[in-house]
Subunit: 328 residues, 2 copies
């Protein structure tokens, strides 16, 4: 693909993923709707195989590779969910996978990546370059680098979540005013926008980001890529990419509305609401778009809004911390 | 209905529930399957509107009433989930509802029942008779008593969860060897059996119960109704009915296999697995069938097994207690 990825590419990805990914439900809660004065839908991608949407992009990438390349294996780097998605996609297709993960990634994510049969190489998030380590492995072994977000095959795979949610809303007779999805490098947000717009062109799609790691929001406002000042320090461990991608940003400028930014405290509150009202387990990075809707930063009043809750791979201690914010 | 409820009654209920209840997903986890050596499917009814399967039976009951009776309102008694399901069904149909609830029911369940617009009357689980209080209200107001389980309209409504799960398994090309559902008075378990057998006659259906409150298991083994010795004392607050119902038991003898019984500790462990692997919030009573599968009491090895996780209305403290059982 030399031009920008299109809705047709998302549809092709959806055909590749048939029987592999599950059609996650679109959840709604009568009490939350009454409180917000509109209809809020949650696309519960935390219920996806591997506990996040990442299997979609990874499997679509591997299914698009040549047979010759597949035999040499794949290598990837990830704060966790891409690692699990890639490792499981590789297992499903019988491909050898090596995953470069930060040493401070949640223990569950590391263990689960190993459980899928992948080789895990740990690195120091501050001192080392995960790109350098991953590229070194690729050079030595001939393995193909599977990037976490900045590739058409990845983002159109993630976009199948947007296609599904738009079709699910349509089946309910609902025209969505807005959709928001968590954003790190922009693969999910841009892919979801492609998928949603193919079914519902009038829907505005927003990237949700944690405060201080809102590079996409700043970049869209500035009309050029902007970098985060910090590399770590948010509870949203899945959303720490330093800047939008070279593939995702030009697409984001075309398909995304303004970004929405939330604090770590708002994210924890959203996780608690997801537990209490929707009965789903959402990790911090997976809850930023929901937090934007619950706080009114993404208005729901008199509107139909859908948010992607993109993952549920959260450590027990962090989840207990979120639950402790509930005042009965 | 003078004869036993049938699969056709479940199909009729499913038509009444279209657009009201959501088709909850059938979840599967690759790691758990690998550990158990078979395929385990979870019918995630905790994701149902009102946080449990109870809306199915309650709405089916109200939709089957005469217009004249609906105008006089409804009254019900419940440890919580039937209360929420009945209150919400009544709200959706514009019917006045009065709910008799135990004073020691989880605070969330009481609050949520009130949030649906129902009038809540609290009683003492040890000293008072909820039946007497509820029947008194019915006599005074002409309201119709909506029982929690012991009525054909209720159990065939609950059975739509079984019909759905059997159809979802069939769509995956899977023939289910066994299905288990949590059991209090037997409405869900017998209804699910009707629904499952209509699609998959060879599947064995089991009632899951907490130890000490395993009246259905004992009754099936004895061939006659047996009563629990205790009225309270299990973490499974939703499963404390003292004995099988007069409608459900004759049906249970026809459609259920032997019961499966689990301890409170096994239930807490199952809730933790539901959190960690399936990313769903399951309440104690909702997790008994899952606990039976995870402990091997309901064998999964070399089989295809589905369990209903019937509700997710759990207090924060109980959920934290379940999470604390995880040893990393």
């Amino acid at each position: 693909m030399s031009s920008l990825p299109s809705f047709a590419d998302v549809q092709a990805a959806a055909r590749r993923l048939e029987g592999i990914t599950i059609k996650t439900p679109l959840l709604e809660n009568d009490r939350v709707n009454a409180r917000l004065g509109g209809r809020l839908f949650i696309k519960a991608e935390c219920l996806q195989r591997t506990g996040s949407f990442k299997l979609r992009g990874a499997y679509n990438f591997l299914a698009s590779m040549s047979d010759v390349d597949r035999q040499k294996g794949v290598v990837g780097w990830s704060s966790g969910n891409h690692a699990q998605g890639l490792a499981e996609a590789a297992r499903l297709m019988g491909i050898k996978a090596t995953i470069v993960m930060p040493a401070d990634a949640p223990a569950l994510k590391v263990a689960n990546t190993r459980a899928s049969g992948a080789e895990v190489v740990l690195y120091d998030r501050v001192k080392d370059s995960r790109e350098k380590i991953g590229l070194g492995i690729a050079q030595q072994t001939g393995a193909t680098v599977v990037p976490p977000y900045d590739h058409p095959w990845i983002l159109t795979g993630q976009g199948t979540a947007g296609l599904e949610l738009a079709e699910q809303a349509k089946a309910l007779g609902v025209t969505l005013d807005a959709v928001a999805a968590p954003c790190s490098g922009g693969g999910l947000a841009t892919g979801v926008a492609l998928g949603v717009h193919g079914v519902s062109p009038s829907t505005t799609v927003h990237a949700g980001e944690p405060a201080g790691f809102d590079d996409m929001t700043h970049s869209l406002a500035a009309g050029a890529k902007r970098r985060n000042e910090k590399l770590s320090g948010s509870i949203c461990d899945a959303l720490l990419a330093p800047e939008p991608g070279d593939v995702t940003f030009p697409l984001a400028q075309k398909v995304l509305g303004p970004g929405v930014v939330v604090s770590d405290e708002e994210v924890l509150d959203a996780m608690e609401v997801a537990f209490r009202e929707y009965k789903i387990v959402v990790e911090p990075g997976g809850a930023v778009a929901l937090a934007a809707a619950l706080t009114g930063k993404l208005p729901v009043k008199d509107r139909n809004v859908a948010v992607v809750c993109s993952g549920g791979n959260v450590d027990h201690a962090t989840f207990v911390r979120a639950l402790s914010r509930y005042k009965s």
